[in-house]
């Protein structure tokens, strides 16, 4: 097999990888932030709030990611246009970003919720006894401890997200896998390009996963 055409296709592949990573990082940030809010809502004493958050999580965990991506591609531009009164399309990248953030938030929520619940009630009481408000208690005392415990799980989930970003091909976004596919198509060497893409996904995911396991060991000692 001849892999030389990969070299010439490298700039395209690289920009595809940049898009994948950009999507990944923004989706992690947004997903963890939204997931944390959802977790706080699920744990809240307010019945309405916790029911709504529970419904959100169960809903998004029960439908395919591909559906969410295609759905948001058509629905999000419509909603934004409706809200802002303009007709400008927001583009596949942002619709995908919102889809990933909202979908992953459901999974991050469950991780954060377990993390918060693993911190003893005594810590909450101690913070309250010092006069802290609910939000101070969460921000300064509970969440910093919970996140420390959850970091390995959040990273594992993010590695899955890294692989799932390839689903954006459905709305024509040129991420790494899609760039590899189209690059291979052009020169008629699809096999080589897909093998290469598989190797890159494997190295990144497996490498990250190994690092996470090592981190996990260090955190538990």
């Amino acid at each position: 097999m001849d892999f030389s055409s990969l070299i010439t296709a490298m700039p395209g592949l690289l920009s595809g990888m940049m898009l994948t990573l950009k999507l990944l990082v923004l989706a992690i940030i947004g997903g963890v932030a939204l997931g944390t809010l959802l977790a706080l809502a699920r744990l809240s004493n307010n019945k309405l709030l916790s029911t709504l958050a529970g419904f959100y999580v169960n809903y998004f965990r029960s439908i395919p990611l591909l559906l969410v991506i295609t759905w948001f591609y058509f629905v999000v531009p419509f909603i934004i246009g409706w809200l802002t009164g303009t007709n400008e399309p927001i583009g596949a990248f942002y619709s995908c970003l919102v889809a990933f953030m909202m979908f992953e938030a459901a999974y991050y929520c469950e991780i954060v919720r377990a993390g918060i619940q693993s911190i003893s009630k005594g810590q909450v009481n101690a913070a309250y006894a010092l006069g802290m408000s609910y939000s101070q208690t969460m921000r300064l005392v509970i969440l910093p401890q919970a996140f420390r415990k959850m970091t390995p799980l959040l990273l594992q989930q993010s590695i899955i997200l890294f692989q799932d970003t390839s689903l954006v091909y459905a709305v024509g976004l040129m991420d790494f896998l899609n760039s590899a596919r189209s690059g291979g198509d052009i020169v008629g060497e699809l096999h080589q390009f897909l093998l290469f893409a598989g190797l890159v996904y494997f190295i990144i995911s497996f490498g990250a996963s190994t690092l996470v396991k090592r981190l996990q060991k260090r955190l538990t000692v």
Partner: protein, 242 residues
Amino acid sequence: MISIKNVSKWYGDFKVLTDCTTEVQKGEVVVVCGPSGSGKSTLIKCVNGLEPFQSGDIIVDGISVGSPKTDLPKLRSRVGMVFQHFELFPHLSITDNLALAQIKVLGRKEDEAKKKGLALLDRVGLSAHAAKFPGQLSGGQQQRVAIARALAMDPIAMLFDEPTSALDPEMINEVLDVMVQLAHEGMTMMCVTHEMGFARKVANRVIFMDQGAIVEDANKDDFFGSPRSERAQTFLSKILQH
């Protein structure tokens, strides 16, 4: 200073506190004792509103704890509390444990808060440990830090919820020494504890609780001399035998 009036509390159908009434005057040290499950920890947690109660009221420095209009965080910031399991914040250094609430709740400047924290740490004999984390200290040391952390808020009263129950025997005294010193300085204290030696030394009054009710509320000498209720007599004879 602290006035508990006819407080009752239920967990569902289960009544944990039954019509509790007592008072802690300014500068007074009151020890609350009784068998486990008698509601003493629940009662002391009601005093700063960590546990809600369904009937009666508790007045702390003229402010009703039970009233929905009360700013509970503000009230709590004026009442120190020490817990059985210390509850230092494990992700923060000792210095930051002492400074956090001073800065975030009282709005003190960072250097002022740290200075105050260090002074109190020195007072409990631990100034050498300022840069360490809670996990690096022994239980007794952690509890002394916890007391210093509460004192850093300049509390008008201190609540102690079984402060020595989770400690190894050889560490109990170092914590009790700090508490005795506080009592001698005139701090208003309400202490849930089984340390009868501490009660004899510094308590003004002893409250004995059983099954959620205050069975005995007497001056120290009366309590140790001739407790009236049979339940208190059996309890005392059991824990004072050795």
